[in-house]
């Protein structure tokens, strides 16, 4: 049994309410931090813990906190990124919906560490019901004296607000989020300056993911060293994984980082193996923006080591043979999945969500989608596969924000690992026009046709 840090109390009846949460030991980290620790000591604990940002990039949280400009004398802000728009990722919603006070507690403790007196939770517009839950939790916390002026008589003041976004993926990118929070169109800003120097209203700001902030209470209550003892190497602590696709148990799981992918996939505690026992075809381990892995690279890395659920192991070999832990959106495909259709679907999403500020992403994502659509609908040309490769390579690295990369990586990985499937689409348009291709006749069974043609 993996240990539970974030989800430990999730099944306690009534844990959503302040009374139960408090009775279960909630808000202890605020008490400890405000009464016994200086803000810098809290930052130090988080640094020691090795906690890495759970929003996707995996940047060490303590280090990010230490970048915040304390000398400028300007007000500072903590902003919680609850936008959670990555397809395949639904873990933050789970935390906020079932144990909202954990996030509020994390926000208070973390804000104290940063010396922020005004903090925000920015939540996507589609999570309206979660927004209401958070509003209620904040009101309860305020009534109980955990928010407002002179909290616990410590002299520390904090106001906390929840703000709903319009429901745009790009508003999850931290600088676009800040723009949106300021009331502007959610366009990413050009970095530098980084938010830690000039963020919300030009003030030093830290943007952290829900799960990152929710881990802080445990770290303060126990210790950074205890947290660092969980996991392997630079992948410390536990991680929420939202698992979906053709597995027996879909849902949100908390794992110790370092668990093997095989165990996560197959043990009854987690995914429970493949649904209907069909063969595993592919895996997207970290949400739609990370490269897809073919079956032979899922359980083992290219050099034959066990693939682990860690930042390092999942990216082993770079993009040629690896992927990323990303935001932990674990999407499993069995042999009936059509990789081209799936790639098109992702491309459709990135095209729709590109903010349109910079040329390669604005124009390139649309182009990718259109070419993929044609191939998927039996109108592909042989040269389209190289064309796709070329388009994605011209987006990657040339854009303002990483959405451009997020749009190009899935396409690159799909072509790299499943080129024969693209070729099959192009060469057998008649078979492809049936939109249910591969459901009755998995690609494995028709693969030989492509091979024959190639010779």
């Amino acid at each position: 049994m993996g240990r539970k840090i974030l989800l430990d109390k999730i099944n306690v009846p009534g844990i959503k309410t302040y009374e139960v949460y408090r009775k279960e030991g909630g808000y202890a980290s605020v008490e400890k931090a405000l009464k016994k620790m200086t803000p810098d000591e809290v930052v130090e604990e988080v640094k020691t813990s090795g906690l890495r940002g759970r929003g996707g990039a995996g940047f060490p949280a303590g280090m990010k906190w230490s970048f915040i400009d304390k000398k400028s004398g300007k007000p500072r802000h903590l902003v919680c990124n609850a936008d959670e728009s990555e397809p395949g990722t639904f873990k933050d919603r789970y935390l906020m919906e079932y144990i909202p006070h954990l996030l509020i507690e994390g926000m208070i403790t973390s804000s104290y560490a940063l010396g922020a007196n005004l903090s925000y939770i920015y939540i996507r517009g589609e999570y309206m019901w979660v927004y209401k839950i958070l509003e209620k939790a904040i009101a309860e916390a305020k009534t109980a004296g955990w928010l407002g002026k002179n909290i616990l008589g410590s002299g520390y003041d904090l106001e906390l607000y929840v703000q709903i976004g319009g429901g745009a993926y790009i508003c999850g990118e931290e600088t676009a989020l800040i723009e949106s929070l300021e009331g502007n169109r959610g366009n990413p800003r050009i970095k530098p300056p980084f938010p830690a120097v000039q963020g919300l209203w030009q003030n030093p700001t830290v943007v952290n993911n829900v799960e990152t902030i929710a881990a802080v209470p445990w770290i303060v209550n126990n210790s950074g060293a205890d947290y660092a003892a969980i996991g392997i190497g630079r992948s410390t602590g536990t991680k929420l994984i939202s698992a979906s696709g053709n597995i027996k148990n879909q849902g949100v799981f908390e794992i110790d980082l370092g668990l093997s992918v095989y165990e996560f996939m197959n043990s009854d505690e987690y995914c429970g193996g493949m649904q209907t026992n069909r063969p595993l075809k592919a895996l997207v381990p970290g949400g739609s923006s990370v490269p897809i892995l073919p079956a032979n690279l899922i359980y083992k890395t290219a050099n034959g080591e066990d693939r682990l659920m860690t930042y390092e192991s999942l990216s082993d070999g770079g993009f040629a043979t690896g992927s990323m832990l990303g935001s932990g959106g674990f999407i499993v495909y069995d042999d009936r999945a059509c990789i081209v259709r799936n790639t098109w679907n992702f491309a459709r999403f990135y095209h729709h969500e590109s903010c349109g500020q910079c040329t390669p992403c604005r124009e390139g994502t649309g182009w990718l989608e259109k070419v993929l659509w044609r191939i998927e609908n039996g109108q592909g040309r042989e040269e389209d596969i190289d064309l796709l490769w070329s388009i994605q390579s011209k987006i990657e690295g040339n854009t303002i924000c990483p959405l451009g990369d997020a749009a190009s990586w899935p396409v690159a990985a799909a072509i790299r690992h499943f080129r024969d499937e693209f070729e099959y689409h192009v060469r057998f348009p008649e078979k492809i026009k049936n939109r249910d291709h591969f459901v009755a006749e998995p690609f494995e069974k028709v693969k030989h046709l492509v091979a024959k043609q190639t010779v």
Partner: protein, 349 residues
């Protein structure tokens, strides 16, 4: 601070961007810029045309930067080394950006009024490809009336957002901006609002392509048939320093004066731009010079030309006389279409 761009070293003040440093050096190393506009704050970083390769960060930090950077928004560091025109990676990236820009902004120039003044045309001359790889349908927009002076032709917009910055920084009561996302992004006004601010005409000047044009000039003439003169008048709203574009004795258009990077020297007001079209309104200073290879110089009158006599058989040149007349447009009645009916300027605009 010392920076080296394509092997040429220059001393710059802290805070100078790579693009500014390159412009100080001048010549071939100056990156193309479609969205940056030195006269407007907060521009740049969007079009990605000005990407350069920073091969060495600074003396303290000698690592090669992992990425191409947008030169218009990246500050110089002491000891920085930059490859611009000389880098294969840079060329590739600029070619890619050009290809992307041309997806939805076709160079079917005869339908556009900006021919001869279009930065995209220049960019694609340098970085474009002969063949088109984009075979899908292009994005199109319904025509939209945004006010009495400015024609918006959204199909040609490259979303550089310079006009949005003009609206933000030069006009009050802003009514226009970007709607929608991705390649559906469009420049538009608030529902039913018209742009009529006194400084709004500057949007036309900053637009790098033919997406925003002057309704009072649109399709009156190709720019290279006009002769540009520097002129000024006493204006209580702006500097009053302009370029007037003459056809014969008629002022067909008034614009701000632009520098070698096609940026206005000083912004002007709508009164000067749209309402002062009489020669008597202006003090004409003299002809305005343009870059040697600018298409506007097709009509060059600042250089002395010897009459060219072509000694050849008359038959070969048949038709040439007639073409000449057409091109000179001297005998063409602009109010009449070829079939003899009068032009309805509203419909044409």
């Amino acid at each position: 601070m010392k920076v080296t761009i394509d092997g040429q070293e220059i001393d710059v003040e802290p805070g100078t961007t790579i693009l500014q440093a390159a412009r100080m050096i001048g010549g071939e190393s100056v990156p193309p810029a479609m969205c940056y506009y030195s006269k407007l704050k907060g521009t740049g970083g969007k079009c990605r045309c000005c990407l350069v390769d920073v091969t060495k960060g600074s003396d303290n930090d000698p690592r090669p930067m992992p990425k191409l950077v947008a030169s218009c928004v990246t500050g110089c560091q002491d000891g920085m080394e930059v490859a611009s025109k000389k880098s294969e990676r840079v060329r590739e990236a600029r070619n890619a950006v050009t290809e992307f820009l041309l997806i939805n902004h076709p160079l079917d120039c005869p339908v556009c009024d900006q021919a001869g003044e279009c930065d995209l045309q220049n960019l694609s001359f340098e970085h474009g490809k002969l063949q088109q790889r984009f075979i899908e349908d292009k994005r199109t927009f319904e025509p939209e009336n945004i006010g009495p002076y400015i024609q918006l032709h959204m199909n040609r917009c490259i979303v550089c957002q310079r006009c949005v910055e003009v609206a933000d920084q030069l006009t009050d009561g802003r009514v226009h901006g970007v709607l929608n996302r991705g390649d559906h992004s469009q420049i538009s006004t608030c529902v039913s609002a018209a742009i009529d601010n006194e400084f709004s005409g500057n949007m036309i000047d900053v637009c790098p392509v033919g997406a925003l044009t002057d309704k009072t000039f649109r399709f009156k003439s190709r720019v290279w048939f006009n002769k540009p003169f520097n002129a000024h008048r006493d204006c209580d709203k702006c500097c009053g320093k302009t370029t007037v574009w003459m056809f014969g004795n008629e002022i067909q258009r008034v614009t701000a004066r632009k520098d070698e990077y096609h940026e206005v020297e000083e912004f002007i007001c709508n009164t000067c731009r749209f309402d002062k079209k009489e020669v008597s309104d202006w003090v004409i200073e003299g002809p305005r010079k343009f870059e040697k290879d600018s298409v506007i110089n097709q009509n060059n009158y600042t250089r002395k030309l010897d009459k060219v006599v072509i000694n050849t058989e008359k038959g070969i040149l048949e038709g040439r006389e007639i073409d000449r007349k057409k091109i000179s447009m001297a005998e063409i009645d602009y109010n009449e279409k070829i079939d003899g009916t009068n032009i309805n300027s509203k419909k044409n605009g």
